[in-house]
Point group: C2
Chain length 304, copies 2
């Protein structure tokens, strides 16, 4: 019961990604067990990694460990940095066709000789557990459409808000960053949850005055301790997606120690959004597996 142990001495201001992700993991594990008890196979995730970036390898190793802890099948496809774009695409296509594979993730960044969009576009939309396909991103913001998968880090941010009892509807949210994988999708998801969203980026002239209006701040710019205490409205909720290395130590995009004084809730780095991303990835893979294996249908039949 690691979640219970860690809840002692918890600072009520801190949105603790370790505790929340541990709760979700427990739930995922139970669901995987149920799936298997129904005679289905374990959910299976393929991770494709090209090149030898140490950070990417660490990240992929963590994914594999968590996947295995939760009862997932996982296939790591580690390719040399010299792999051609066509070779990567051919591998993606192979796993697209493999009915025993539920999710395909291509670890980013890819080496510069490979076009990211060309590879990502090849992933079958029903296996795009990272949710980076433009169809998914478009559907996130559109009325009457449902994204097949919500991108993992943005979904992690929303889960943290929800599980901390933070109201989103009717609130003012300011998102710092507009990247395909964090800023843009999290902004669309907040909008779809009825927040009034402002998206800031490197061409925004007055970030402090924008942030000052926010009930919810999402910082995803990759600039160490960029967001200052003076910019934060008293009682705002601050989600720090940033992962920056300063003097060999990990820190976020928010000046945590000082901002914490005025925020009503805040995520630390490490131990905030970071642990959520992998869990959301596995959650998406589980959902994909259930659909692929007609889990809902078999439950329905067994109830009838």
């Amino acid at each position: 019961m690691s979640a219970a142990t860690t809840t002692t001495n918890v600072d009520p201001k801190i949105i603790d990604g370790r505790i929340i992700s541990a709760d979700i993991k427990k739930d995922i594990k139970i669901q995987v067990e149920k799936l298997i008890a129904q005679g289905k196979r374990a959910p299976c995730l393929v991770v494709i990694l090209v090149g030898d970036r140490p950070d990417s390898h660490t990240y992929v190793r963590n994914k594999k460990k968590t996947a295995s802890d939760l009862g997932f099948e996982s296939i790591d496809c580690l390719l040399p940095g010299t792999t051609t774009q066509q070779e990567v695409i051919d591998i993606v296509k192979k796993y697209n066709q493999d009915e025993a594979v539920d999710g395909i993730l291509v670890q980013l960044p890819l080496p510069s000789h490979i076009n990211e969009a060309s590879v990502l576009n090849e992933i079958d939309i029903s296996k795009d557990v990272d949710g980076f396909n433009p169809i998914n991103i478009g559907s996130l913001g559109m009325r009457g459409r449902n994204a097949t998968f919500q991108p993992c880090t943005p979904r992690g941010c929303i889960e943290m808000l929800d599980r901390s009892g933070v109201e989103i509807a009717g609130k003012k949210a300011v998102v710092l960053g507009r990247s395909n994988i964090v800023g843009l999708p999290v902004a669309l998801m907040l909008m779809n949850r009825d927040a009034t969203v402002t998206i800031c980026h490197s061409k925004t002239p007055d970030i402090p005055s924008q942030v000052k209006q926010a009930d919810i701040v999402i910082a995803a710019i990759g600039q160490a301790r960029f967001v200052k205490k003076e910019w934060i409205k008293e009682g705002a909720v601050v989600i720090d997606v940033g992962m920056n290395s300063v003097d060999g130590k990990l820190c976020g995009d928010v000046d945590y120690v000082n901002v914490k004084e005025v925020a009503s809730k805040i995520t630390p780095v490490p131990g905030g959004v970071g642990p959520m991303t992998i869990v959301m990835l596995l959650s998406n893979t589980l959902e994909s597996s259930k659909k692929r294996q007609n889990y809902y249908l078999s439950i329905y039949i067994s109830i009838m």
Copy 2:
């Protein structure tokens, strides 16, 4: 030379959609003539209309007239309100396969027994000149992606800003409305042009204070004369997409007469965004036709 005639006595504050659209029409007409001079066929647009809403029929008639004036081929497919979803989809599929068709537009709204998304999703992305496919909408906001077509009304808004010399990059833009066809795509397009964008909607508690910050206001909510003078920052540019009928007269979402006093530029209704939409549709169809007929390739070969 209707454009020249209308430019006399022009109020410098008014962004005149009639003049701008007439300029673009002239250009489109010349391009169609060049296409045909190259031995290609005229661009061809199919409009599918289900049911007998008078406003939709008027709109489709206007499209046909403008298309024909500019040298386009246009096919109107007028279907009774009783047409089934599958029948509409079958017609879309037929035109998808027809190489002589460059653009397919399904007039919205569809009757309530037809699912809008299911029909729109069937339109071949290379003929989706309305640009409503989620891939297009996602690509509008994503870095490193290009939408095949920019949705017509949002593109009309951006063209009006550009052709009036309004700087977008670095400016604060407030978009009122988040619909799939106007609010959301125009917000993404402004963001991609480096504006800092806030999207407001019916759950935004303090629209006046949001609008007050805007250098550029786009109003697309369908509420007659909703935006008031007091909400507008001195010198702001106001684009009014609204088309509302009040006492049998067309008016916009902006209290035009009063807002005009503080705005530096403003679009009237009628005569603002309205005339732009059809022109942008034909411009998208022309681009589609050029690609489909390898126009750029043949120009390249003739230069070589």
